[in-house]
Symmetry: none
């Protein structure tokens, strides 16, 4: 049932130095990000990436030992970008709920806004890769930001903070599957609405539609 993808043998050559083209490497990562985001990992071929990088498929293997490895890199870089965005967003704020609000908006913004990251965090369970663990670890690390934001929240005693966090992440990440740019809502609107729901949509004046 498992698909080991037992590739990527020799992992010898990789020039840590930036002799001439770290550009090329960046181009490849950018292209791969874009394509993985749009078509998924399995739906993107090495040739697609190569073509989008202005290179032939064989050449990719100079830069990355395997497709899987390229995914790890893209994933990592994406998460780093998200972390930065989120941390910047909550930097000056101290009120716990407000901090969560801003983190949510930031997460949605980069998720839906830039192709770099979109959808990369989606179910790594689907990727039948040897290295899913690694992906999961990378992602869990990022999600700790939210864990600690939630820790600071005054919540009902019967509220499971673990589930609370994962539900928020679910609500946010799911947007990738339904949000259509150019529609009625801006990317930030989406984030605001999720933040609203999380706070409890009842409070305040109410309407029954």
């Amino acid at each position: 049932m498992t698909k080991p993808l037992a590739r990527a043998k020799a992992r010898t050559k990789k020039p840590k130095s930036l002799r001439k083209g770290p550009d090329r490497r960046r181009q490849i990562i950018a292209a791969a990000s874009e394509l993985f985001a749009r078509n998924g990992f399995e739906g993107t071929s090495i040739r697609d990436i190569a073509a989008a990088s202005g290179v032939l498929s064989g050449s990719l293997y100079y830069h990355f030992p395997s497709k899987e490895d390229l995914l790890f890199t893209v994933h990592q870089e994406s998460l780093t970008a998200m972390r930065q965005e989120v941390e910047t967003a909550i930097a000056g704020i101290s009120e716990p709920w407000k901090r969560l609000d801003e983190a949510i908006v930031a997460h949605c913004r980069i998720l839906l806004g830039g192709s770099v990251t979109r959808a990369i965090l989606t179910p790594p369970r689907y990727y039948n890769l040897k290295g899913v663990r690694k992906l999961v670890r990378q992602r869990d690390e990022y999600e700790q930001i939210f864990a600690s934001l939630i820790d600071d929240l005054p919540l009902r005693a019967d509220c499971d903070r673990h589930v609370f966090r994962l539900s928020i992440l679910g609500a946010m990440n799911w947007t990738v599957f339904w949000y259509a740019a150019g529609g009625r809502l801006s990317v930030d609107d989406v984030g605001r609405q999720i933040a609203l729901m999380v706070r409890g949509a009842t409070s305040g004046a109410t309407t029954k539609r």
Copy 2:
């Protein structure tokens, strides 16, 4: 170079038991559900499904004309099962919030409980199929249950009911990617917690962890 087409080898072992009729169809659907859920559509090969159904790959085509068609069937059946579960759960209840609570619990229960349905509702956007439209229509129809439950809710005027619904669905469907049976939480616990979050986790006595 030769294509001998040598058939009819040994026909020894076959357990006489699971050889009936419409059972086979069910077995296949069950196996496919499980595998699509675990590995995604593209990540599941016809051979995988066949093997899991105790059948050879060619035999599947007696029961289903294509892999895509099998997906449609699995998807449809799953949604029908979910609809029933959810409708049963809210049957005798009239208080709007309570109805939503129970719908959420029911949705999570069947999503996480039986392999038949699990995770089928996930992002059809990724499936590179001609018939995605069909899948999406099937799913949208099911989601209308939630749309109407939410319509009955007294919500703040600035709360977008559309996003509200999709966020709840996101939170619920995302559980598929993190929930591990046998852990601290029961399937119903998960549902209750999501219902709690949706109501506004602040209300009531609070703790800061």
Copy 3:
């Protein structure tokens, strides 16, 4: 490179008696004729034939031990029908050229008119069958009619009667690939024109278009 199609093992059961359904057998042959003619041997599946005979695929094997064998039967019957048509057509005629004329018209008529035979005589060389030899033998036997008609013709000494015969057959059989029913020309027109060409299209009044 060869595709032996090593099927048709046991050739045991076949009820020479007409217990109940020689009809069924006829139905199958008729359906097969029609389909082989329209779609070619490789382009026709046993299931197609079964469906067209109002039977399930497994049942065919009661009547014919293999698809190949069915082809032999169809081929044989078609040739027999053609022979009859041609022999009838030349029956009362004695003038050699006239006899050939009529044979040509008859051959074309049945070839293009009834689906039973059409195209069956076409290149058995294409069929990668063990039994092509058999087909060829059947066909050669039929073609002897033309050989003897040509023997009776007064031809130029430098005319190779062998090539002459095969060229006529080529011209006639090729019609299958271009003749469209319902067009300007009737089936008999086609035969007449070929007969005309064979006689030497120059003789008589001439035009240069």
Copy 4:
């Protein structure tokens, strides 16, 4: 159930000689020509062609995007070659019948002589391809040569030039199914005989065999 994808086995034997560049493309076209001619399009597998080109099946797809496309190429090249042969043959001649004679001989010569072209012109009607139209167009274009040669001929008023042309083509193309190299007749003999028949085999001194 596992899909090990174990690659990179032994890479021992490879004759260093036929490893160049555009040669490979030619080799493939040659092999495909030969095989399509012998076994038909449907009767030839991509693996057959690959094997005959000294290559593995996957490698073909580097050179041609599909089997159908390979057929188009082979077909096109063959027709181009035939056109050249025929046009060269009739170049210096002005007498209309003589021009047709030479065209016929040339057509047969290349049809039966080189494997490149042989039989490719046969009934595309059978090919179950999307692009049959394309093939037919290619072929019709070639056949115009004969149409115009025939236009220049003084023929009986009741002779249909359309059927006349198709019958000649039928007689010529049919040779592919019966001509055996190395027999009594040379390739050119066959062409001469067909030309003779077309002129009217009666004319001149006659014998009755």
